[in-house]
Amino acid sequence: MSNLRNAPFSQNEANVSTLSLDMLLALSPAVAFGCVLFGWRVLLVVGISIVSALFFELLGGWIARRPSDLRDGTAAVTGLIVSLLLPASVPLFVPVLACAFGIFLVKLPFGGSGHNLFNPAAAGLAFVTECFSHHVFAYPAREAVIPFTLRTPEVNVAASPAGLLKTGGSTAFSWYELLIGQVTGPIGTVAILVLVACAVYLFVRRGAAPLLTVSCLAACAVIAALFPRSADITWYESILFELCSGYLVFGAIFMLNDPVTSPRHPLAHVMYGVAVGVLTMLMRHFGQFEEGFCFALLLCNAVSGVFDRFAWQLLRPRRQRRKEREV
């Protein structure tokens, strides 16, 4: 007959744009809370980061002569995530470089959204962490007032909980300060309770897979309980400090759940989450930096397809195996 579209003629209302919109909505409380904790410069960092992510996406499309569709929202999500992982006093070229690296070198060469092998936000952040670790981990002290300025503000820096753990000391923060974000740290990742609320929203909207997040955090908790990094803390304090420091919770909710780079199968979700968790803890213990989540995530990105295949082979319905034997 003619060139009519095939069935179905009804489509679920969830599409790529609404998924990205959900992600942006779930991240917005973290931005708002960042403003409350660190002042208005947060908006500047976030804004520059998102705009540069969109710009590099467009530029890449133009260079490759491939129409880039910003409406799918994936570039905006990348920009937002990158900015939320940086300190509020960061020089503005850092998020721009991170977005440039993530989108230009990691996302677009593989074919753009949907085809990228590595999570662009994690790759961008890993890049700036390697190159500018003195900026990326220079968290403003809690008393510091960060001026709303394009230049890099001169503020006192203080060690974050993750930094304190890295140097072997116990953290100087109490459990409720850790939970409500009264600590030094990146813009969007300190308010654990807010992040958990956002995660619940995403789980309900099916924008994120609980198995991924929970298995990753559980693996970290087990390792934290078994191997505390400081001699003078108990095992449950170790769990609390490890989970609430750095951007582990943020990453386990928002970066691990990037559907493109994570596996699809529920069992593969568990294996992948555990792998990322274990690698993160190894990097924290033996790595160069105070936070290793990005590197752990990138390593696992590379083999996420393997997890999928393995899980499917393992749980393949018996019906099918029987059929194969008959043949």
């Binding site: 007959m1 003619s2 009519l4 579209r5 095939n6 069935a7 179905p8 003629f9 009804s10 489509q11 679920n12 969830a14 599409n15 790529v16 609404t18 998924l19 569709d69 409406r71 799918d72 994936t74 074919g111 753009g112 959204s113 949907g114 085809h115 099916r206 897979a209 559907p259 493109v260 780079t261 994570s262 596996p263 699809r264 199968h265 529920p266 999928d308 499917w312 393949r316 319905p317 099918q320 059929k323």
Partner: protein
């Protein structure tokens, strides 16, 4: 009896109203009927009657592997061609007169039931298969339960519900006959409906025969304590009852006429062969439709002419307005297609292999298990034609591509 669903099931807003709650319309102005001179497998059929012969219901009209039977009394008027397919046109006449007294169907033996079913050429509306063959296959299988399926689990259709509302008791009797012929002693009618409708229909059926499916999920599967259950359509049950009680040929169907271009969506009882134009002029069009769909919106077939007839196996027809086709993105790997697949396949993986021409990897992904429910394509947030690619994967399975530079790129 239990109804099972995919692990992370597809639930879709219903579009059944107002058709579902309105009484069934009878298409009584007898129209011209169109019957295809090519069967489902593309084999030709040659008319056996002369032009202007009068034919009786159930009379064999053509030869061929799957011959045509006259659904109603009529006059063979012409052979006409629509879009390369030839149709046989009959001027249909309404059957007037009193209904004869039904024969006692409760004393029939299984063989007699099957014989009546064969003689009446009853077709199951669920899959378009011949009911007699299907019952024979069910008798062979280890099914422990026979279900008359009136669930209508796709968004628009409510023909099963309408059939039950109009002929509930007859459908139940037909199911009893079908169960007898298949040698199964546990049989139920499965319905998905609001409480009021359910109660209303329950009152017309023998006690305990109606089971309610309380979930609104697609696709559903029925089983009994882990054992498979067989399903037949309620309309097929009705036709089986009428075949046994009156010796009547299966010539009528209840069809839901709906879609956003239809002004009065309704269920219509009509003879097979009724052209789409007839039902849409009965129900009215609000807008110039962009396409017509034979079938429901998840699995139907789009056509661009309303000259085509409604044939056995179709229980829903739609007229849809022109809409901007949704943007198709690359697979974002969300895994929803795999989660809704009730055959436990990996649709995204099959689709990727097909697109990358890695056909040798396909057999281990068993695309042949796909039954074309299209649930994966409905959920896909990137709007990818996943189900079509899986279908393509069935054909390409195991094929090895050897290219030495030159391909026929035409």
């Amino acid at each position: 009896m239990s109804v099972t669903y995919p692990q992370y099931a597809l639930s879709f807003p219903s579009e059944k109203e107002p058709a579902a709650s309105l009484p069934t319309l009878e298409l009584c102005r007898m129209p011209k009927l169109l019957l295809p001179l090519t069967d489902e497998n593309g084999q030709p059929r040659t008319p056996l009657c002369e032009l202007y012969d009068t034919v009786a219901p159930g009379q064999t009209l053509t030869d061929g592997a799957r011959p045509l039977y006259a659904p109603v009394t009529g006059v063979f008027a012409a052979v006409q061609t629509i879009d390369d397919v030839e149709y046989m046109e009959i001027d249909a006449l309404a059957l007037a007169g009193e209904e004869p007294a039904p024969a006692n169907v409760f004393t029939l033996s299984p063989d007699e039931i099957v014989a009546a079913c064969k003689a009446a050429h009853v077709v199951d509306e669920l899959d378009g298969a011949d009911l007699a063959d299907k019952l024979a296959a069910i008798a062979e299988s280890d099914a422990a339960l026979l279900v008359a399926d009136a669930v209508d689990d796709q968004p628009f259709g409510s023909a099963g519900l309408a059939t039950l509302r109009q002929f509930g008791a007859f459908c139940a009797d037909g199911l009893m006959l079908a169960a007898k012929a298949a040698g199964i002693d546990d049989y139920h009618v499965l319905l998905r409906a609001e409480t009021d409708t359910y109660k209303e229909i329950e009152a017309t059926l023998p006690k305990g025969r109606l089971v309610r499916d309380r979930h609104d999920i697609y696709p559903h599967k029925v089983s009994k304590k882990g054992k498979p259950a067989a399903t037949v359509g309620v309309q097929a049950c009705l036709a089986l009852y009428r075949a046994c009680a009156f010796g009547e040929h299966h010539g009528f169907a209840t069809v839901t006429v709906a879609g956003n271009a239809v002004s009065l969506p309704a269920n219509v009882r009509l003879p097979f062969g009724t052209p789409l134009s007839e039902v849409f002029s009965l129900c009215g069009l609000v807008d110039e439709p962009d396409k017509y769909v034979l079938g429901d919106s998840f699995t139907g077939k789009a056509v661009d002419t309303d000259a085509l007839p409604i044939l056995p196996g179709v229980t829903c027809v739609l007229a849809l307005k022109k809409e901007k086709s949704p943007a198709v993105h690359a697979c974002i790997g969300c895994g929803r297609c795999a989660a809704v697949c009730h055959k436990h396949l990996l649709p995204y993986e099959i689709a990727r292999r097909v697109e990358n021409l890695q056909f040798t990897k396909l057999p281990s992904l068993s695309p042949a298990d796909c039954d074309g429910c299209n649930a994966c394509a409905v959920v896909c947030p990137a709007n990818r034609p996943v189900a079509d690619l899986v279908k393509q994967g069935i054909e390409e399975s195991g094929r090895v591509l050897i290219g030495w530079g030159v391909h026929d790129y035409e």
